[in-house]
């Protein structure tokens, strides 16, 4: 089974995000980039499939600060090849980025493949469009918000589990090749000891590919970016525990909750 995993770096919110002076972008002075969480789950699901059925896991990621660290860690976990797309800018908009990914899949010789897995969403856009747009362009099957992928080697049937609100799950039989948006892997992303990552850095390499900007793609323009302003404030109940309990009862009673 040949699986391509799309990975993307997103701002690490361990640092407070600051708006740049242009009012349209993030201040990158102290900004650090981290692998998008659901992309990490997509990687884990791909590695689990490889362990069960053999095959190859190839990684494709837009170039970004710290992306090499993420790719080497993924190689150390068991991925077979890593390719980064140089000169790509997330601000081009999802459609343009997807068009470039499609080209990169060819220039980096990643097709044909059985599956393309990527995170269902990324924290910096939340639009969840990469998987469906890619599937549409490639004319492949698609499902998103997936939390399990099963392949039965004897029948060749692939079953995908998708999550719905309210604790509901549905199972779909899907025709390969397919693009899947992974919400979470079957188990948490694995740990990779630092010594293995260091060994991967010494013995393996990351390929790079360049693809031209896709012409005629609708692009989004960010007009302004601002931090959310507080609409109201929480009321702090202060005093001795007995007094606070009394006030709390009053508040609950006033809202008809007692």
């Amino acid at each position: 089974m040949k699986i391509v995993v799309l990975l993307k770096m997103v701002p690490d919110v361990v640092e407070e995000l600051e708006i740049a002076p242009d009012g349209k972008s993030l201040d990158t002075t102290y900004l650090r980039m981290i692998l998008n969480d659901s992309d990490n789950h997509a990687l884990e699901e791909a590695l689990l499939l490889k362990e069960r059925h053999g095959g190859k896991v190839c990684l494709l990621a837009p170039d970004a600060p710290e992306v090499d660290d993420a790719l080497f860690a993924a190689l150390a976990k068991g991925a077979d090849r890593a390719v980064k797309i140089a000169g790509i800018d997330a601000a081009e908009g999802t459609r343009a980025v997807v068009a470039r990914i499609v080209q990169a899949l060819s220039t980096a010789d990643l097709l044909p493949a059985d599956l393309i897995l990527t995170g269902a969403q990324a924290i910096d856009d939340l639009d969840g469009l990469v998987a469906p747009l890619l599937a549409q362009t490639l004319r492949w099957s698609h499902l998103s918000v997936v939390n399990q992928v099963r392949f039965d080697a004897s029948t060749g049937v692939t079953t995908v589990t998708k999550e719905f609100p309210g604790g509901l799950r549905a199972e779909f039989e899907i025709k390969l090749p397919a693009v899947l948006g992974i919400q979470s892997a079957e188990k948490p992303p694995r740990y990779v000891p630092v010594a293995k990552v260091r060994a991967a850095m010494k013995s393996l390499q990351i390929d790079s590919t360049t693809v031209p900007i896709a012409a005629g793609m609708p692009a989004l323009e960010i007009q302004s970016m601002a931090k959310p302003s507080a609409a109201g404030h929480a009321e702090m109940l202060e005093g001795l525990p007995e007094a606070v309990a009394g006030k709390l009862c009053d508040v609950l009673a006033a809202h008809g909750l007692l």
């Binding site: 102290y30 188990k187 740990y191 000891p193 630092v194 010594a195 293995k196 260091r198």
Partner: protein
């Protein structure tokens, strides 16, 4: 009482499972009597599928695979009890178990998520909590004593104070940091900290089976040390002290090194006249495994406590070399949920029960892991009206300020 400080001979950090028996410490494993003292003294020995005695037996009969694919070694809290009691002097905690844990971490189907998160945070942010490395020195702004931060003011300093993670980030650890700064200033110590350039020394990650991560942190911290001029290093954390004293030597660490507690004990004559406030309480002291069993500092903390006027020091049943681990060493700090799920009693709770049984009002500690562990245990066990947990530096400052 014999101390069990084991100065690692050169080469001790080059031992691997493959070349184990070509080193004297490794060959000593072959002399094991299978007496079971290690298993009996191990605080979690009763819960392990393969306790230390069996592990040695299996190592000698070529059955190690079973040990490495079980999660037994996750129950090792690197408390040095087995090493201290072994009649053959086998260095389980310092040599054998870390090697096995490293292999276990590679073969475990799943690393407990708390531990995994802590290890990943340590690599990315330099602290296990996943706090911003840019906020490591934020506590210094809350100190009533001006704290010189070397990256901002790189003049030569006498003492480089290596604050460490829990003292820098944990709200109760920060109380220790502020108290330590007050005592340093009162003693006229010329000191400075590394601020946001400091990262965890990494002792616990090595003993939890991640030597690669330990080495990454060591190489980083050594580079930072070399940037500045100072006469000695004092650290608030026994785990950092241990790393500097043993493993960092292999990377060329040759600075004069002291633990904050022993450093203050050395300055006791200058400190004593400042201890004016009379304590009307009884205190019991918990020996940290790293500080006591592995480095032999049993008397210094007690000497400091007894210097506080009016204090009454009582001992727990298990003290000095027989201390019971708080459960935080060797990665145990990030395995509480895992141990609870296994049905183990939390070691911090076992220890607090013993402390309460002494009738003491205060449980005094000298390791930054212990404040939060014991305060949690005191609350969980419902003893929060009977006992408080304080770092020794906090008690000293209370007496200096007469606020008892």
């Amino acid at each position: 009482m014999a101390t069990v400080a084991s100065p690692h001979p050169p080469g001790a950090f080059e031992i691997t499972l493959e070349n184990l028996f070509s080193f004297p410490q490794g060959r000593r494993v072959l002399t094991c009597l299978q007496c079971g003292t290690c298993t009996a003294t191990c605080p979690y020995g009763v819960g392990m599928q393969y306790p230390p005695r069996r592990i040695i037996g299996m190592l000698r009969t070529g059955q190690l695979e079973k040990v490495l694919t079980s999660d037994s070694l996750l129950s090792c809290v690197a408390c040095y009890a087995c090493t201290a009691k072994c009649p053959r002097g086998i260095e389980l905690t310092t040599v054998l178990l870390p090697l096995l844990k490293e292999q276990m971490l590679l073969s475990l189907p799943e690393v407990p998520s708390e531990l995994q998160r802590a290890l990943e945070n340590m690599l990315r942010y330099g602290n296990p909590m996943g706090e911003s490395p840019r906020k490591r020195a934020a506590w210094a702004k809350t100190s009533s004593i001006p704290i010189r931060i070397l990256p901002e003011d790189p003049r030569t300093t006498d003492v480089l104070w290596f604050v460490e993670c829990y003292t820098s980030y944990h709200p109760r650890g920060q109380d220790t940091a502020r108290a330590t700064a007050k005592i340093f200033q009162a003693l006229g110590i010329d000191f400075a900290i590394l601020g946001n350039e400091e990262k965890c020394a990494g002792e616990c990650v090595r003993l939890s089976g991640e030597p690669g991560l330990h080495n990454t942190l060591m190489e980083y911290n050594m580079q930072v040390f070399r940037k500045y001029k100072f006469n000695s290093i004092v650290t608030s954390c026994p785990h950092a002290y241990d790393a500097f004293r043993y493993s960092y030597r292999t990377a060329g660490f040759d600075y004069e090194l002291r633990l904050a507690t022993t450093f203050l004990a050395q300055h006791l004559e200058a400190l004593r006249p400042m201890l004016r406030g009379k304590a009307g309480y009884t205190v019991t002291y918990h020996d940290s495994c790293c500080m006591g069993r592995h480095n032999g500092f049993y008397e210094e903390p007690r000497t400091l406590l007894q210097a506080i006027p009016g204090i009454k020091l009582v001992e727990m049943t298990h003290n000095r070399v027989n201390t019971i681990c708080c459960g935080g060493g060797g990665g145990g700090m990030w395995l509480d949920t895992y141990y609870k799920a296994k049905g183990y009693e939390r070691l911090s709770e076992r220890r607090v029960k013993e402390a309460v049984a002494t009738g003491a009002d205060v449980l005094a500690v000298a390791c930054p892991y212990e404040i939060s562990r014991f305060e949690d245990a005191v609350k969980v066990l419902g003893y929060d009206k009977r006992m408080i947990v304080r770092d020794i530096t906090e008690l000293l400052v209370e007496s200096m300020e007469g606020e008892i």
